[in-house]
């Protein structure tokens, strides 16, 4: 097919625009939506795991604290534990967690 080929000229006239900011914005909006969904899944899972771990270990920890320490000390330790969990929860909520997943050819 030469440059003078009439088919080539027809195809050339039928091209999509070379610059299209609205198309780019539409793609980036969909990317942002996908990222938000992935973020929610990962963060939700981490929060659920943290919550489950807290619920399971709380009775054990509190029983040991009562046996090991006197009243003001175990209150401080318990408060410290809650503060640490809060900080971890805040970190998870505020930062993007990047998982190194195996290479899956989904598309």
């Amino acid at each position: 097919m030469t440059d003078q080929d009439p088919l080539k000229a027809l195809f050339k006239a039928d091209e999509a625009p070379a610059v299209d900011p609205s198309f780019r914005m539409a793609v980036m909006n969909r990317v942002a939506g996908r990222r938000l969904a992935l973020d929610l899944v990962v963060k939700g899972t981490v929060m659920a795991l943290l919550g489950t771990a807290f619920v399971l270990t709380a009775p054990l920890v509190s029983a040991n604290l009562v046996g090991m320490m006197s009243m003001p000390q175990n209150v401080y330790v318990a408060l410290g534990g809650v503060a640490a969990l809060t900080w971890v929860g805040r970190y998870v909520a505020m930062h993007r967690i990047r998982l190194s997943l195996p290479r899956l050819n989904l598309f």
Binding site: A16, P17, V27, R30
Partner: protein, 177 residues
């Protein structure tokens, strides 16, 4: 560093989380991907929707791209798979887009007569033929690269291009010198 960054550099930046780099990749390849999909689908709104899905799929699985230099081939492979998938549910999608386009202002420029004729002529080719013609005749791809994108043997692609071209020339009545 001066000049335009390569696809490989932009892919590396996008993989490390840069949206700007990915947006530049979209800018760089959107015309080719959209034009290909428009020729394959024959319906502009469907094609642009598929093109967006193609780039979204590319963003999601950017880590699976083995050689960043082959980005364009990889994007077209995704686009072709999406187009084949859409062909199965074409009527459902068309209804949705028709309903959507009816809500829009009718500000789009009317298509010139020959573009409509070309689109109709392309519609008379079968799916694989249309894709081979869109890549090799319209996009200027080599037969070998097109075979890679379409996942077809080289001989089949050559045959599709040759027959598709002959058919287009016949339907459109253009001089074939």
């Amino acid at each position: 560093m001066s000049g335009t960054p390569t696809d490989a550099a932009l892919v590396a930046a996008a993989r490390s989380g840069s949206d700007r780099a990915f947006a530049r990749l979209v800018d760089r390849h959107q015309q080719a991907v959209r034009s290909f999909l428009r020729r394959v689908c024959g319906h502009e709104a469907d094609a642009d929707d598929l093109a967006q899905e193609t780039f979204l799929a590319a963003w999601t699985s950017l880590r699976t791209l083995k050689t960043a230099a082959h980005l364009k081939t990889w994007l077209f492979s995704i686009a072709w798979r999406k187009a084949k998938g859409m062909a199965r549910s074409a009527s459902r999608s068309r209804k949705r887009d028709t309903a959507w386009s009816e809500l829009q202002d009718n500000t789009a420029e009317p298509q010139p007569e020959m573009n409509i004729a070309l689109s109709q002529a392309m519609g008379q080719l079968n799916g694989d033929q249309r894709a081979a013609v869109a890549l090799c005749l319209a996009g200027g791809w080599s037969h070998g690269d097109a075979a890679g994108v379409l996942d077809l043997p080289l001989g089949t692609v050559k045959s599709h291009v040759s027959r598709g071209r002959a058919r287009l020339v016949e339907i459109l009545g253009v001089d074939d010198d």
